[in-house]
């Protein structure tokens, strides 16, 4: 066999180019231990945290403040503040692990179309976190309502199904946001160092500062969590759908920034 001459390269259609890249990204994800561990951690933290919170709410329901309508779904998702951190890690490591190890060069040599690569990562991450998110959200809801007993709601009650599905999408959006931010930063440790404290602490602390509270509702996590409410609260600046749109906009912005970064930067 001689290699002296090669057939000219004809680019196949976008679909036929996209499929192998998605396949490769899925293979990468399932051949590491950490992504699976993160999904389990997200499940345990979200369902467990919510169970604990709703258990104590039920026990002390009479002493709960009565100036605002009780949010049974939002309460069941009380563990989300912890569970979302596992999604942050999943989103960060999806590309951060490649920058940290230098494998990004092997990836970009195999897939020189960088937009296609980023899209494939986003698609695989969406699929995995959405399936996991649905399992987590419904488990969280049913466990939480069981704990709340007579204070709980049924899945058929107004706005409840929407709120539970919102919990699943919220986890996906947080993972995608983390993927976008990490791609822009191109550093795994830096991305974790910014995103983890932000979602766990900073957002909550800012919220508690008088005068800033209103503005913090527009942060990606707080806006998205509006979707978990089934009632309108007096302090709300906007409703659940607007909240969801704001979080989607944050994610779109992060992924746009990621695309602009990845398409022109040296690897």
């Amino acid at each position: 066999m001689t290699y002296a001459t090669l057939a000219p390269t004809i680019r196949p259609s976008i679909i036929s180019r996209f499929a192998p890249v998605i396949n490769a990204e899925w293979t990468k994800l399932r051949t590491l231990r950490s992504p699976g561990a993160m999904l389990i951690a997200a499940y345990v933290a979200t369902v467990g945290g919510g169970a604990l919170l709703t258990f104590f709410i039920n026990k002390n329901f009479s002493s709960m403040p009565t100036d605002a309508p009780f949010e049974p779904v939002r309460s069941a998702f009380g563990g989300l503040v912890l569970g979302q951190l596992a999604m942050v890690v999943l989103g960060v490591t999806m590309i951060g692990g490649e920058y940290a190890s230098g494998m990004i060069r092997a990836t970009l040599a195999a897939v020189p179309e960088r937009g296609l690569l980023l899209a494939a990562k986003a698609v695989v991450l969406t699929a995995v976190t959405l399936v996991a998110g649905l399992v987590i959200a419904f488990s969280t809801f049913f466990v939480g309502q069981a704990m709340l007993g007579k204070h709980g709601v049924s899945i058929g009650d107004p706005n409840v199904l929407r709120a539970v599905l919102g919990g699943a999408f919220y986890l996906t959006l947080i993972a995608l946001f983390s993927l976008g931010v990490t791609t822009m930063l191109r550093r795994q440790t830096l991305a974790l160092g910014i995103l983890m404290p932000f979602f766990f602490l900073v957002s909550g602390i800012l919220q508690a500062i008088p005068g800033v509270t209103k503005a913090t509702q527009f942060l990606p996590d707080q806006a998205g969590q509006k979707f978990l409410q089934i009632h309108h609260q007096s302090k709300d600046a906007f409703g659940p759908w607007t909240g969801a749109l704001i979080t989607v906009a944050w994610v779109a912005l992060a992924l746009l920034g990621a695309w602009l970064t990845v398409r022109r930067r040296d690897a």
């Binding site: 390269t9 293979t27 231990r33 230098g102 040599a109």
Partner: protein, 312 residues
Amino acid sequence: MIELQRLSKRYGDTLAVDDLSFTIPTGLVTGFLGPNGAGKSTTMRMILGLDRPTSGKVLINGHRYDQLAEPLTHVGALLEAKAAQQGRSAYNHLLWLARSNRIPERRVAEVLDTVGLRDVARKRIGGFSLGMGQRLGIAAALLGDPAVLLFDEPVNGLDPEGILWIRTLMKSLAAEGRTVFVSSHLMSEMALTADHLIVIGRGRLLADLPMGEFIDRNSRSHVRVVTEQPEALMDALDGDAVAYRRGADGAFEAVGVEPGRIAKLASGRGLVLTELSLQRASLEEAFMEMTADAVEYHAGLAASDHEQRKQE
């Protein structure tokens, strides 16, 4: 065939690659030689489309790298050892690479066999030695059975057995008709493997010629002769029209002549020679001479070193 056309890469104030044009010939091992920091790795990254040239371009069989469909089936590259995530097994690392370019899964086992990693295929890469990591990188390069192979400093950190293995592998790949482009900062290594030589220094092309020509041009030799009767030897050499110069220690350095002829000359005149030896300038020396001006920081570092010592 790979063509570099007026390729330049600037990082801030430094011109890492400076108007570089050359063609990598097909079916040969081409050595890409230059001192550390000469721009070899940057050039290789630009060939693969990883770094964007400031100006100029690289064409692989007439196409830019990012225009190649399933590029791993055209070009395989070993850029750095262990460009792989530690937590994945060798098999799975090659598997995702195969999937990304529609390469059949059986190739994974084949290349693991080729590089001798079959027994550790299911082991995590994190536990691999440098040599095993290098072999895995070569397996990844071979995965798509490409016509062109790029190796960036493949023998770095390898034991003698591994070095020998890589040399043999590169030659056999070229013998199969593939184009092998291998960078090194060691002339001696290239002399053993390369058919063609491209030398760069400070990002500029210094030489582009067949290995044999480089050796002929640069392996100057002379015969060193020491005697206690220099006057008589001088007469003898002049009488036979042998060119020579005197070394610092008074020894004669005759050029373009065999030691045997000097021995005959001397014995014919009854001269006693206390030393008669053939001296060969090594290719390493020729390479260092060629790149001396191009070695970055070379003089500057030595000077500041000196300064520091004076201050201490």
